[in-house]
Each structure stands twice: as C-alpha cells, then as structure tokens.
Symmetry: D3
Subunit: 236 residues, 6 copies
Amino acid sequence: MRLTVVNPNVSDELTRRIAGAAAAVAPQDVDVLGVHPSGGVPSVESHAEEVVAAAGVLEQVRAHDATSDAFVVACFGDTGVAAAREVASGPVVGMTEAALMAACLVAHRFTVVTLPTRTRAHSERVVRALGLEHRCTVRAVDVPVAHLESGSTHLLETFVAESRAALELDAAEAVVLGCAGLADLVDPLQAELGVPVIEGVAAAVGMAVGLHRMRLGTSRASSFAAVPALPEVLFP
Amino acid sequence: MRLTVVNPNVSDELTRRIAGAAAAVAPQDVDVLGVHPSGGVPSVESHAEEVVAAAGVLEQVRAHDATSDAFVVACFGDTGVAAAREVASGPVVGMTEAALMAACLVAHRFTVVTLPTRTRAHSERVVRALGLEHRCTVRAVDVPVAHLESGSTHLLETFVAESRAALELDAAEAVVLGCAGLADLVDPLQAELGVPVIEGVAAAVGMAVGLHRMRLGTSRASSFAAVPALPEVLFP
Amino acid sequence: MRLTVVNPNVSDELTRRIAGAAAAVAPQDVDVLGVHPSGGVPSVESHAEEVVAAAGVLEQVRAHDATSDAFVVACFGDTGVAAAREVASGPVVGMTEAALMAACLVAHRFTVVTLPTRTRAHSERVVRALGLEHRCTVRAVDVPVAHLESGSTHLLETFVAESRAALELDAAEAVVLGCAGLADLVDPLQAELGVPVIEGVAAAVGMAVGLHRMRLGTSRASSFAAVPALPEVLFP
Amino acid sequence: MRLTVVNPNVSDELTRRIAGAAAAVAPQDVDVLGVHPSGGVPSVESHAEEVVAAAGVLEQVRAHDATSDAFVVACFGDTGVAAAREVASGPVVGMTEAALMAACLVAHRFTVVTLPTRTRAHSERVVRALGLEHRCTVRAVDVPVAHLESGSTHLLETFVAESRAALELDAAEAVVLGCAGLADLVDPLQAELGVPVIEGVAAAVGMAVGLHRMRLGTSRASSFAAVPALPEVLFP
Amino acid sequence: MRLTVVNPNVSDELTRRIAGAAAAVAPQDVDVLGVHPSGGVPSVESHAEEVVAAAGVLEQVRAHDATSDAFVVACFGDTGVAAAREVASGPVVGMTEAALMAACLVAHRFTVVTLPTRTRAHSERVVRALGLEHRCTVRAVDVPVAHLESGSTHLLETFVAESRAALELDAAEAVVLGCAGLADLVDPLQAELGVPVIEGVAAAVGMAVGLHRMRLGTSRASSFAAVPALPEVLFP
Amino acid sequence: MRLTVVNPNVSDELTRRIAGAAAAVAPQDVDVLGVHPSGGVPSVESHAEEVVAAAGVLEQVRAHDATSDAFVVACFGDTGVAAAREVASGPVVGMTEAALMAACLVAHRFTVVTLPTRTRAHSERVVRALGLEHRCTVRAVDVPVAHLESGSTHLLETFVAESRAALELDAAEAVVLGCAGLADLVDPLQAELGVPVIEGVAAAVGMAVGLHRMRLGTSRASSFAAVPALPEVLFP
C-alpha cells in the first residue's frame, strides 16, 4: 500500500518530519511518501493562507493520485480535505478529524491545544463539523508554526502549562496536538501529563490504512462525486 | 460608498447579472461594481471548484480593496468569505449568510433550494456555521449552474415544485434561492408561492450597506487578524 | 421610507435617544419616528415587565402600521417582536436578533454585555432561537436600566471591564451592547477595546431598510399569518 | 394544598373543563381552582394573542397568589409562565413543559399534535427551550381552538390520523395533546393507538403537587427574582 | 399505590435512608418500599460498577413487579432505568432525569453537584439524553459514596463551596444533589445558599405518583416493548 | 499484536463469523481471537438484554485482558464498551462508534440500517454520544438477530430497499450495517447500491490496530480510571 501524506505548506523540513511521524506508525507493508505543494505558504495560520494551501493540496493529490492508495492531509483544520476527496481515487483522511476520533476512543472529554491563537476557529470548524463540541474544547499557545521547523521539544513547558489548564478547567482527559510537526512532543508531554496525547498525522495514518484494508473509498453518491475537468491553479 | 460584488466564477454574463441584482436594491449613493477572477472555473459546483474559486475571490478582493468600502461575495456556500475578511479593509458579506439571516427576519422556518444536488453540503455548511439547522432545511434541483447563464425564468416550474414540497413537508414559510444569478426568479416565484423568496446577493447588499453606515468592519482581534504577506495564486 | 422605532418602556428621554441612534445610521431618504407605549413600565428588566412591554409594543405597532413601512423594536430580548410581525404590514426587526447577526458578519465569536444581571436569560433566549450558542456568550453588568436615562458614558469603565473579560475568557472578538440606549457608548468603548462594538438599534435599522429595499415582508404562510380581530389591552 | 389552574383565554366552559381535568388527577387533599382572565382573547392561536393572554395570566396569578400554593398555566406554548414565576409565591408549572417531561418518562421519541397549524412555532419554542428536538416532533391538525368549546371527542378521527402518521413517520412512541381542553380525548385516542397519550394539564398537576410536597419554589437567585412594582394591564 | 424504590447498591443503611427520603414526600395513600439487589457493589462509582448495578436493578424490578404500581431507581446516572422500563408493568422513573426536570421547573440554569469526580460523565450522559446542556452544568466533589453511609450533613461545607462556585461561575440558580443518600443535606444546604436544592429521589417520587394518577405507563410501541424471556444474572 | 473481539451474545456461530470478519481486515501480524460470554442472551435486542450482555462483555474482558493488546466489542449499540475501558489494559473500540467514524471519513451524510426496529434507540444513543445527528439517520429492518445465525445474504433485498430509501429520502451517501454478523452483506449490498457499505467490526479492527500502533490506551484521568475490586456477575 502506498500512502501519500500531503503537507500543505512548502517547508521541506516539516514535510520530512511529518512523513517520518507517519512512517513510524504505519504497518511494514505501507510505503509512506511525504509531499508538499510546488508553491504557496511557509505555514497555514490564517483563512487566507488556507485558501492557498488548499490549492496546494489539490495540486499534490492530482499529481500523486495514480500512484497512491490513500492520502493523509497533514494540516490542522483539514484544509482542502473535502476537495481532495473529490479528486483522489482512494480514501482521504484529515489529521484533525482523525485526531478527534482517536481522542473519542480513549477519553470522555479532551482538549485540542493548537497554535497560533488566531487559528482556534480552524480547529473549532472541524470540531463542529463532527459534532463534538460537548466533548472537546479548543485551546491555543501563541507560537508561530515557524517555530516548529526544527522540532518542537523546546515547546514542552508551554504545552504542559496549557494542557494542565485543560485537565483542570475543562475536565479534559486527553490532549490533541493541534498542529502537524509536533510528533516529537508526544512522548515527553504524555510523560508529564499522565494522559493520552494524540498526534493527528499518526491517527490519520491508522484510519487511512484501516479504510484501505476494508476497501472503502469516498462515496461518489453526491457531495464528493468526481469532478471532471478542473483548471490548474499555479504557484509563481 | 463603493460596494464591490465578487462573482467567483469567470462568467462575464453572470457577473453582469449579479451586479445588476445588487445595484437594484442598493441605495442611490452606493456605487456597485461587479468583478470576477482573472481565471478559474466557469461555475462552482464542487468542493474542488470551491478551492479554485476561493483563490479567485482572494485575488479580486486584493485587487479592489483600495477602492472598495465593502465586499459582497456572490457564491452560494460563501466560498472564500473568511479569507476575504482577513484581506479586505472594510466588511465582507457572503450571500449565503445574508440570505439565511434575512429569512430569519421574515419567517419561522424556511428552506434553501440550491443547485445542483451535489452542492447541498455547501449550503448545509453555512446553515450549521450559523446554527440554523432547527429553522432551515436544504433542498436542491438538479440543474447545472451553466443553465443560469442567460437568465433563470425557464426554471420557474422546477423551483415552484421543489418549493411547494418545502412548504408542505418541511413547514417552510419562505424560500431562499440557493445560487447567485437567480434574481429574475424572485418575483415570478413569489407570485406563484405567496411566501417571501429571498435572493442572497440582494440580502448581502443590504447588510453590507448597513455595516458600512454603522462604520463596522471585521474584527482584527484574532480569527480574522490581518495577514501580512500572502503569495499570489495564478490562473493560467 | 418611514421607519418606526418602538421603545417598549415609557421613557420619553430614552425614546428620543433611541430614535436618534436610529436616525444616525438611516439613509437620508428614511424618515425615522420614535414612539413608546401610552402606558406600562419605566424599564424592562424581568419577564413580568416583558409581558407589559409586549402589550405596549403591540399597541404602538397597531397605532402606526398605516403610516410605517417597517418597524424596529428597541428592547434587548426582542419582546413582542413575533407578535408585532403578525400585526404589522411591513417587516419588523428586533434589536437583539439584528445585533447578533451583525456580530456574526464581523467576528467569529462575540459576547453580549447586557444589563441588569437578571436579564441574561432574555438575551440567551434570542441567542438560542437563532442557534448561536456556539459563537456567542452572554455577560452582564449589574446596572439598572434607569441609569441610562440621561446617557451611558458614565458606564464606560464598567463595560470595559466586562468586555475585557469576554475577550480574554470567552475568546470574544466583538461586543454586543445588550440594551437600548447605549449608542453613546459605542465609540468610546470601541476605542478602548479595539474590537467592533455593536449597537442593536443601529443594526436593526440597517436590516429593516435592507428588507424594505428588497420588498420583503413577514411571511403570512403560517406562524405569522395575520390576526384578524385582537382586543385592546389598556394601560391605566 | 390549593392549586390554581389558569386558563389564559376567557372561555368559562373551557376553564370548567380544564379545572375538571386537573381535579381528576389531583390527590384528594388538593383543592383545584380554575380561573381565567377578566378579559382578553377567546383563544390563543397566534403570537399576538399570546401577548394578551400573558397579561391575563399575570392578572390572575397576582389575584390568586395569596390563596394559592402553586399554579398551573393551561395554555399550550406556556404563555406567561416565566412571568408568572416572578410573581407567584409558590411554584408555577406550564402544561407544555410538563407534558414533554412526562412523555420523556414513558417514551424514547414522541410527537406533539397541536392545533391549529399556525401554532406549531409555539410548541417548538418550548421543545427547544427544554432541548428536546432530538426526541420530539411537532405536528398539527388544522382545527381552531373554538371547536373544543363543548368537548373534543368529535376530533378523534382527526387526531388518530395525525398520530398514526407520527408513529409511522417520526418513530413516535407516545403522543402529546397540544392544547388544553382535550382531556376527554385521552382515553379514546389511547385505545385507538395503543400508545401513551399525554394531556399536559394533568401532567402539570402531578408536577406542581410534587414540587409542593418537596417544598420547592421558583429560585429567586436571578432570572426569576421577585418583581417589586408592576403596573396593571387592563382589559376593557 | 405501592411505589418500590430500588437502590442499586447493596447497602442496607443507604436503602433505608433512601426509602425514608421517598416516603417523606409521598402522599399518604402511597406505600413506599425500599429494596436493593441480592448482590453486587457497595457503591456505583464507575461504568463497570454500573454494569453490575444495572443487573441488580433488573433483578429487583422483576422480583417486585407483581406488587408494585411504579418504580423509582435511586442511582445518579439512572443506571438500569431503560431496561427496567421494559420489564416493569408500571412506570419507572430515574432519580437523575426527575431531578433535572424538577430543576427546569424552578430555575433557568442549574448545576448538578455529583460525587465522586470520576462520575461526572454519568451525570452528563443523562443531561445530554434530555438535551439540557444549555441549562445545566455538572460539577463534582471528590468524596466516595461510602462516606454517605451514615448521613451526609458532615459534607455541608464541601457542598456549599462547590455550589457557590456554580452560582457565581455557571450562573446556576438551583443545585441538584448528584447522588442518592443526600436527602439530609437539602435543608441545611438550601439555608446556606438561598436557592432551591433538589434531591432526585424525592423528585422521582412526585413524578412516579403523577404518572400513576394519570394512568400512564411506559410505551410498548418500540424501544421499550416487553422482553419475553430474559435469563437471570446471578450474584455470588 | 493480539486483538480480542467480544461478541456479547452466546452464539458460537456468530462469534466465529464475527471473528472471521475481523481477521479478514486485520494486518498479518495481528492475531484475532473471537470470544463470547459464558452465559447470557442469544441476541441483544432490548435494553434489558443489553444489561445482561454488558455483564458478559465485562466477564470476557477480564478473562482475556492479560493476553490481549486491544479489544473490539462487537455489538451494535456499544453495550459495555465504557465499562470495558475501565477494566482493559489496552484500548477498547466499539463497533458502532468505529462504523460511524469510518462513515464520516467517506461520506457527508449516511444512514445506519439496524435491526430489529425496536433497537433504533440503541443506535441513536451512540450517534448522539458522538454528536453526529446532523450527518446520520437511523433506519431499521424488522428482522430478528437470530436470522443472521447462518449468514445474512438472504437479507440482501430487504437491506437494498431500506438503503435506497435512505439514499433518496435522507440524502445518505453511505450505509452503515447496524448489527454484527452482516459482513457477508457488504459486497453484494455495495454492488447493488454503488455507495460505501460499512461494517462496524472491520472498522473497529482498523481503529484498534491504529491506536495500538500509536501506543494509545484509555485515559485513566477520570471517567475511565481503573476499578480496583469488582465482584463477579454469574451466569447460571
């Protein structure tokens, strides 16, 4: 099985780290490929950047569809996932929806800790699309995505503080990391908090592999029916 | 006051008709300009086309921001509206949110009749973002947007039939037209049904003018804070 | 266009100030008339006073319907609005629903700051009728409506404090003033907070004008069908 | 214990029949008194009539508070109940909320069959205030309240037909009679349908007696704090 | 009328106190019997213990059905209530649902104070089944049920502190005691707080008596149809 | 990895078929074991049978915990899953929650087709616990579980009919099979309908394997903290 993980920003380093996080949990017979758009934004921290990033996700899904059994979109907020479902032949899983579902399976209530603060609305959009407002709160640390470029363990204290607030004030029983590129934070944060810490790319890999093994793909019945002729969007 | 109405598809004819519908309800001292992206899709009937159209909305909002007091986005589903709010200096109103709000002011329950059928999910997304599921149902007629190119009165019977089903089965008391380019259907449909028929571009014009007169613009506090440097997305 | 603004309490001074706030945002060709019931309550701060005030709203809507193109009801909680819709020939807009809708157009989340504290339930009733619990919180300052009689700028500090709590604790991005008669607070509060401050009477004027220009009135299909013969309720 | 049942319309005959329905289920040591306003409307079939009726409910609650341990408001839609809670010394129970609660105790899903059709919004208001949309649908038969003046058994067939539709199409397992004055319909309808048929006045009596025996009254903490000086509203 | 109150744990002392609380509010012609399972758990503080307790509730309902007109299940979380409805000939009322309904009748917002902390999810399950999330918060004090064995007045201070937090932070206007066996706390807590304090067993008695007087039982239409042959579950 | 699939009824044949369905989608390095309780009910078609079945699930989870890395509970309605989470060392996944999550990943709206009709409430309980009412309807065919004993392909026509109703009337885009033991229906039903058909045991296997690979287990923070000493429940 070939699983393509699309990082919607243009960072090589983040793409490599995200693909690594995916490969770490994928079964041995799954070949993980990490890709990013040919142009666009260095990070997705606004609705405007989401527009550019979604065009990039579409570009990559079209480019790799013939050789991919399934896609994971590695952007918290699941930018471009609905569109990718129309274009990809196999299943497409967003890291946000996957993380929230995994959290439901291990905790009664949980909290997303996303970044930066202004993107809380992006997380809330997915929480509400799934109907999970009664089980999930959204918190944020005000760190730009750029700070994750070379790893995220330097953010441990920041995440511990916000997560502890979630455990105490929101009755959270698990924490969802609200950004791709935080896989190296899972173990130390879990050690500090003593509750499950959920990384969405890893969760999405599990679900994409599961769907593939069930031979399930996106329904073509209506909302995600194939789109015959779509013009390119170009990046300068 | 200069009000720019962005049609997110590339049809000159539809843009002209949409701008006409906007101008028809705008106060005399409001100058209405209709624009469309420099490239993209002939119609927005899928999530993938929404991605392209949103890039086009961004392009036009950036191009006209310096000379516009407010924007209306004329696409049912409000594609690109959140992003436009970050980029525009003045308020931005989507035709879908405006139509649903106007419907709330004249009816207890109401129904969107959108087109084509596969886009019901786009309408439902806005209905849910506003929390109006308890008052609004979404129905569709399976007509491609292309059929509206030169007017929509030939669709009267189709809309009458679906709207009557809404009045009888959904207890609807008003009908929201679920696509731009249907302004010429308002009067004949209203005459047939005897209930308010709401056209979203017109509704959005009223709300954009109202916000402007109150000197209200998008909050920069968090979710829609300005986005400093956004790369272009190009259309071939 | 003649727009009649009904203040449901019996204060001449508040009626004058509310009508002034309405006129300030109305287009030049709109003639704004402020009225209040012939009897009733000096302020609406309880459900019982709402009953009296609603009778007063009905009285005034019946008295002025022949000469009014549209009505605005200037009571936070939208007391009597549903009844007024059955009786008025033109559209009727409540200041609460209008304020919440305007807030949706400029902010992802927002907070009503109402007064006095015991009336939070009245605001929450409208928030829930519109389905906006996921975007709107309700806070209060414990000031009686009587304190607004001769202006509200002396309440600036109180509103700043409660609004700051909303921005920090509720992730609000805009503030809705939860009472009529606070129009003079909009500018200083906005200056202090740096986020949009929304006054409902002004918002309702914009929406009523917009509906009128679209020639939209209340649906007579079912819930708001005309009421043929309604007895008077008298004020001693 | 003295329990006062307020019929908010001015029909002597309906008041007598409603009080009889209440007395039939009240324990022996409960003295049931039926009252109606000194003026107002012959029936409550619109929001405008609700305004008048609510004034009448207030009038009667004030008149009988000194001699009543609890009140039941016998109007589907619970007109005036919130206001009555502020004015009455003892607990106040609306027939609609009581009927919905009783239905929850005997059925997973259920349906209100109200009358006339235009009042569905009134039932839905209470359903939503209680949060029961997921368990309760609202249907209507288009019969004016006046037709209940001298009994309702002639409506049996009409109610059987609408109730059967509820059982089949809405998965209802019980039926709530959506109007006062239908007590004589309970037994024949139950016999026809084979499912519980719930009459709200009877349900409200049980709950008012229960609250009284627990010595529970309306909280004065905030929303329903006492209202010191309320002017009269007069009926001509 | 014979009313059987099932305490789902095996404590004789708690059963006696719960039956006493029920008898204290029951009308004179109601004979209250308190029972507990022949085996099982000393307290119900987890989902696993709920499984055992539900088996015990079923055992007792089957054992006493022939001689009972109605049942009250005295476990916060309403463990086994749905199953008991299928097995009992008369109505079955859970203490949690009854307490929440009673709270709705006397307060706009209210708070459950349950124990121990880990059981908040059990309370929330019932709050959500009734749709009351918008009016009810759930708090907890971290006291094991065993501490209630010989009365609960020693917990007064703990409950006062948590309840005061609810009144201030959650805008609660009444408090629901989230465990059986707290009846002796009602009066002192109410005296301290000045708001209604609701004990669920007492509330359930009132509702069970009310249903019985209306001759209402569980609907057999679908979800709670009778279960013909159910094997015993044994306790060692 | 050892994955234990618990069938909560006592049928050897169904257990074998369920384990087979699980093994068919499990990766090669996953050893699937199918078990059922030592006593209890032949099928779970009522809330009362759920009580017995939950005791059986607990029995089996305790018996196999030492040798299992994860559990799947193969009962539509997820009977006993919350309790099993407290008792199992590794993750526990219910087939219902897993099926609904998988459906969310491949369709905008979908429908559960469960059996028999009386168990719709059990499916709705899980739909609501996940907050998916806006995307998922529940339908039923009135077939007893016993009819699945030796396979389910004879039910193809029945399922096709109900599923077609879902596609047309509920706008469903995928179908969830609402019972264990229907794995042999997936392919023929999918062939007939042309939309994804989701079998919950297979979906649960994918998610359990995914959680295991992420080394995620149930949070012990509060709701699902370990339960120290739980008495046995015996089956005669």
